[in-house]
């Protein structure tokens, strides 16, 4: 109780300090107030994770009551298109889960023939990354960890190294497409970047980073890999694993996969359709998951309510919605243009330095905070740079990769980390310490962020 009180006092003091500092730097009353409330919300998320929605509700209410923002702009900044996109995708994922798509993926992993430790590491890394890119990191990690635990149990090896490898690959893969991480769709909707842009620019870089990370973990966990190879030789082929699970009925799985594939197809080509039909940017991007999930709910009409009530993460989405409003208030009051001007004042016309700063701040910040919180805060600042005549394209990539790859650095850096470690603690009573994770997380985070930095700064491809 005392610790909670101390945290609350600290939160209040820091938020007020930041607000007063903002006024000291020359911001107006409303700008300073928006900084104070936003800081309080972010700190509330950091100190009181379970109460983050309460902070978001109350913070937004205070902004309205103090006329720092009006209702019309609350609706505008809430990024309903992002929220509805996520709702649609969550319904589709719910269907895939129910029809056994993810269990089918687990089955594929369990059925690897002529298994070796290196093959296992390669498969779980590639599948984790791919699944994360196509669905989301939060969904994919559960199934991958399930497969890893089954295989490690069978071959009587410690699962922790392989779970960590899967998580690292999941976070890397989540940067590859618009779908992999909520920050992907958020950045796409605010920047004008399309799914094709992500495939052309984010996907190859994420893939290169994944390969680099695989080499690193093969070296880092060489002892665990040698042990797994030894046990595979001793215990023989994984015949029992091959027969462990099955996924009936196949017809429904095929229909579910077809719906998902068609959805992905239209999402991938959303920009082309928007140009063809003269639709505003991201209209098709939003509409496709809604149509697909609407069709899913017609097909599975008796489960439609379950999809909406259980598979849609309303707690998280409401938090995002109000977080976007609070970040939007920074833009509305002009705070972010003010901050953008100050940053430009510090870095001068050195655009590569600005990219470096954004990349590494978002990576480090994302290792401590939820990356959606961080990106939501940064977006208006980057938009501010755009207002000041700076082409922000390189910065959008910086914040995407920093936001995703930074999640690997600490064990709280990403929701996928927390979910995976929660499962392994409950199943195996393994408590991972901060440092156990930190050294490998920092190594992979530094390596992958370094590769991104080289690509952003030294190639013209991302401008």
């Amino acid at each position: 109780m005392i610790i909670r009180l101390l945290k609350l006092v600290l939160l209040f003091l820091i938020a007020v300090f930041l607000g007063n500092s903002a006024k000291g730097w020359g911001m107006t009353q409303h700008q300073a107030l928006s900084i104070t409330i936003f800081s309080a919300s972010i700190l509330g998320t950091l100190f009181f994770w379970d109460f983050r929605l309460s902070f978001a509700f109350i913070g937004t209410s205070v902004l309205l009551l103090t006329k720092t923002i009006d209702l019309e702009h609350v609706i505008e900044f809430s990024s309903l298109e992002v929220i509805l996109f996520l709702v649609g995708m969550m319904v589709i994922i719910g269907l895939l889960k129910q029809e056994g798509f993810f269990a089918w993926i687990v089955q594929l992993i369990l059925r690897i023939r002529n298994l070796t430790a290196k093959k296992f590491v390669l498969v779980i890394s590639l599948v984790s990354a791919a699944l994360s890119a196509m669905t989301s990191e939060v969904v994919s990690i559960i199934f991958i960890v399930a497969a890893v635990l089954e295989i490690c149990d069978y071959f009587e090896v410690k699962p922790l190294p392989f779970v960590i490898i899967a998580v690292l690959a999941t976070n890397i893969g989540s940067a590859a497409t618009v779908l992999g991480n909520p920050i992907g769709i958020l950045i796409a909707s605010k920047s004008g970047l399309t799914f094709e842009d992500f495939i052309l620019k984010a996907f190859p870089l994420a893939f290169v980073c994944l390969i680099a990370a695989i080499f690193l973990v093969l070296f880092w966990y060489r002892k665990a890999i040698i042990q797994l190879d030894k046990n595979i030789k001793e215990l023989g082929a994984n015949e029992m694993l091959i027969k462990l699970i099955s996924v009936p009925p196949e017809r429904n799985l095929r229909i579910g996969l077809a719906i998902f594939t068609v959805t992905l197809f239209f999402i991938a080509l959303h920009h082309r359709f928007e140009l063809l039909y003269g639709l505003p940017a991201n209209t098709v991007l939003l509409v496709v998951p809604l149509i697909s999930s609407g069709c899913v709910m017609i097909w599975k009409w008796d489960k439609a309510r379950d999809y909406i009530e259980r598979d849609v993460e309303w707690w998280t989405l409401l938090f995002f919605l109000l977080l976007f409003v609070q970040a939007g208030t920074l833009k509305y009051t002009g705070s972010t243009v003010f901050i953008a001007e100050r940053i430009i004042g510090l870095v001068g016309q050195n655009f590569n330095l600005l990219t470096t700063v954004i990349l590494f701040i978002s990576a480090i910040g994302s290792s401590l905070l939820d990356n959606v919180v961080l990106v939501a805060a940064f977006i208006p600042v980057i938009q501010g740079f755009g207002t000041l005549g700076i082409d922000p394209r390189q910065l959008w990539w910086a914040i995407l990769f920093g936001g995703c790859f930074g999640g690997n650095i600490t064990l709280v850096g990403s929701t996928a980390n927390i979910i995976a470690l929660g499962i392994i603690e409950k199943e195996k009573d393994i408590k991972v310490t901060f440092l156990t994770w930190f050294w490998i997380g920092l190594s992979v985070g530094a390596l992958t962020t370094g590769i991104v930095w080289l690509a952003l700064v030294f190639t013209p491809f991302y401008r």
Binding site: K97, F102, A103, I142, D153, L244, V247, E427
Partner: protein, 148 residues
Amino acid sequence: MKVKEIMTKKITSLNFEDNAVTALELLLKLKISGLPVINDTGKLVGMFTEKEILAKILPKYLENVGGFVYDENPKAVKQKILSFGDLKVKDVMRKEVITIDEDSALCEVAHTMLVQKARRIPIIDKAKNIVGIVSRGDIVKALFNEYK
């Protein structure tokens, strides 16, 4: 009619430090699906049931994995069963226990059983001491007998 009129007063309970296998064997011997768990001061601290035993030996993430069928028994389940004897009742039991006051009406007990999906509910007195236990079967029988 109040629940205290139909509840089973002679309760067998487990101590939270009891061995889990011994507790399981008692369930099987008595042919019941669950027993209340008390601590050293006699306070109700949990429920040890067949459901909790299955939840302990099967992977926790099963609900989230979605549609699939086990065609074989995983090795991990065998290992958990073999090491079940290393556990105590407190490691397996459900700590959140629904209880009902001894003066509650039968319908209230039925209502609680439906909403909380409980097959049996320990009955407590005003001092929160466990004084009996009632099962779903007891409630169904008593309700139908009352209005026959």
